[in-house]
Every structure is written in C-alpha cells, then in structure tokens.
Symmetry: C2
Subunit: 232 residues, 2 copies
Amino acid sequence: MNTVRGARERARIEVTAAIKDEARRRLAAEGAAKLSLRAVARELGMVSSALYRYFPSRDELLTALIIDAYDSLGAAAEQADARAHAAGAPPRDRWIAACEAVRAWALEHPHEYALVYGSPVPGYSAPADTIGPASRVGNVLIGIVRAAFEGRGLALPPLPPALGPEAGRMAAEFAEGLPPAVVAALVAAWAQLAGLVSFELFGQFQGVVEERSAFFTHAAGQLAHGVGLPAV
Amino acid sequence: MNTVRGARERARIEVTAAIKDEARRRLAAEGAAKLSLRAVARELGMVSSALYRYFPSRDELLTALIIDAYDSLGAAAEQADARAHAAGAPPRDRWIAACEAVRAWALEHPHEYALVYGSPVPGYSAPADTIGPASRVGNVLIGIVRAAFEGRGLALPPLPPALGPEAGRMAAEFAEGLPPAVVAALVAAWAQLAGLVSFELFGQFQGVVEERSAFFTHAAGQLAHGVGLPAV
DNA sequence: TGTACATCAGTGAACGCGCGTTCACTGATGTAC
DNA sequence: TGTACATCAGTGAACGCGCGTTCACTGATGTAC
C-alpha cells in the first residue's frame, strides 16, 4: 500500500524532483548565493508562488539540494570503494579509488560540490539534517583504514603528545577502536583531499598543474601513506 | 615631487581606500556574490553613482579587493617566514610558521580568504592582474624548501615515473633547480594547506576538531614531512 | 454507484524592496597666462 | 597676484530589472456516505 499512490501524490513527487533538478541547473548558472525561486519557477513554466506548495522558502530548497549533494557524493565514494573491495584491491587502492570517485563526482557536479565544500552561502545556515549525509565520505575513508588496521597492515603516523587527548576524543567519537594517531591523520587527510579537489575545481591549478588526473592520483596515494596505509 | 600632491589627489587616494574598506566590511556581511555598490555607497554616505568616479564597475571593485587580499595574505606569510628565518629556525619550523601565518590571516579575514580560495564568484572572472599577487604564498613555500635543498637537508619524496614529465615542467616553470619530485609534492602541499584552512573556516570541522590550533600545527608539520623537509 | 464536501496544486496580482548603470547638472579645486 | 578657463568629485533623478513572499481565487482530484 506504499507503492501505489494516488495521482496527486505521484505528481507531487515528480514536481518536487523537477524543481530540484531545475534548481541544480540554476545553481550551475548563477551560484548558490543567487539561486532564486522565481528563476526556477520561470524555467519550469510555473508561477513563482506555486513553488511554495513544495518548499516553504528559498532556504528550505537550498537545504534539500545540500542534502542531495552530500548523499550523491557519499554514494559515489561508497560504490567506488565497494567495487575496489569486491575486486580484492588492497586498502591503499581502495583509498585511491574512493578519492578518485570524490574528484570525479566533483568534476561532474562542480556547483553542488561548491555548495557543500565551498564558501558558505551568506545568510544561510545549514540545519542539523545535513550532518548525517555529510559524514558518508568520511565513513568510507574510516572503513578502509579500519580494514587495514584489522588486517594488521597499518603503520602508525606520528602524534605529538599534546594532541593525544584530542585525537583520543576524535577516535572515541567517530572511529572507535582505531589508534588516535590514525584518526587524527584521517581527519587531516579528509580536509587535504578536499583541498586538492577544490583547487582543481576552483581554478587555482590553472596554469600550474596540467595533467590533473595523474597528479591527483599521485597526491591521493601520498594521502594514503600519510594515514598509515602500506604501499602494497 | 611624488610625495606632496594636491588636495584632489590626496582626497582621491583616501576615498578610494575608504570605498575598499567599506566594501570589505560589506563582504563580511553579505558575501562576495551579493557585494553591492549601492550598499557600499549608502554606508559611506555617498550617492551610488559617485562610486563610478573611482571604480568603473562592480567587477573592478571586486578585482581590487582580490588583489589586496592576495597581497595581504602573501605579506603575512612572507613576514612570518622572515621572522622565523631571522631567528635561525630550521626549514621545517619556517614552513610551519608560514602555514600558521596563512591560517591566522584567514581566521582574521575569513571573507577575504573565501574571496580568493573559496568558490568562484558566479559571473565574475578574475583578470590577469591577479596572477602575480596570487603566487606570493607559493613562493614563500618554495623558498623554504629551496633553502633546505641547498643546505642538502631535503629528502626526496616518491614520484611515479608517469608523472615525471609533468613534474619536470612544473619545476622548470616555477622552481628552477628543485627536484621535480619535490615540486610536485609542494604543489600538492599547497592545495592541502588550503584544504585544512578552508575546512576550519567554512565550518567543516564543527563538531569534529576542537583543538584547532594544535591540530593545524600538527598537520602543517606532516605537510612539511611530505615535501621532504627533515624533522629537525 | 452517485453525490456532496474537503483537500490541495496552481494562478495572478500585489507588497515593498534592492540592484547596476547612465546622464545632465553644480560647484569646488587646479592651471595657464 | 589676479583672472579666465578646464578639470573633476559628487548629486539626484531616472532607466529597466529582478527578488521573496502573501493572499484571495479557481478548478481538479480525492474521500465519506
């Protein structure tokens, strides 16, 4: 009784999706700060006030786009890792595969990537619903490192004593059972991965790096080394 | 005869500075995409059309802000490195000092940092004048690594053969004389440094990293290791 | 199965607002003789 | 030193535009009896 719904409900689902799709297109054209309900409605051939039947405000629409983006990016990373895992790849190759999936997704959806990992949209503050989807990529990386750790194939990165308690807290909170030094390195690697992708996407590599794929793969491998994953 | 100018010229310099200062304040309040000449003029008690005596368009004002931001950030990094150098610090400590200066500047000027290293402003494309100032931070990092290299205290990071030509080209173009493997690692470290700063600034570390200073310093040290700088 | 009523998607006009840019103008500052 | 003219900063009105959101409405779909 959940599968077949009335025409109204099916229409609602379809129109909601159409609005989000069009909003993503506008996002690419204008950027998040200038995303406008009126432009979305215009493009869909609707009157602007009609959108209020689907989203109570512009910010709610933005939130929906953010959640979708995190989910889509997270799914891409999960799938890439699962494929590598199924093919019997060692942790280091799974790590690189996941990183490459993040980059590929970002290149395909640059404005959605900017929406979640770029500068915050002024005047907008993300609600709590975005936290869960936001952690999917991180969880993939944690999973890979955990596999290496449990297979006793993880080197311990250095950790200054002053950072011990903080790293211990992070480990307890996000990656129970992993050594604090590894968790600290993981968090840094996650930010550094985003830095590599952002620089390429936001044009900072223009005139600097030409062979971006090969460069990125190499850098991802270095990140893997940084969190303690063995070379083979 | 260059020092004492007429009242008009002095006024022009002062008003230009006042406009940029106010624009920076508006930037912090609204973000770059929504920076508006009218709001700047209003805040300054001028009429909006008066600004056109100083900047031919909104985009030219944005360009001026970008160049100022790159220059200010570059100067901060240069000064931090110069201080560490003068105090006899080894390359690794100079590297960390420069990274910390970048982070400190970013925390003090979050919206200017976002302007240059965040998502691109939609509809705006930076002109060529921004290239020079943009490279100052990179040049500081290159200088530190070069000092270590010339002091024969640099370890060679790994470099996959496939990346040899690309790394060689980058070395020839930006850091003549340094080993290609080091230059490739440098470029990656530069992007990764920005990733660490951006994550902290853009809220990605909220609920994840608490002791941000200590965490950053540790991560900067790891970056130093990644480019081959020796531990002491 | 048919009818009366409730629900809800979408309309169109209106609200008050802000934007970048142009233009003819005024009046003060600077310059040439 | 004084005068006539040129330069230029700043004014105020106007252009045409887009925005988010509200509200009373119409007409189609769904539901209860």
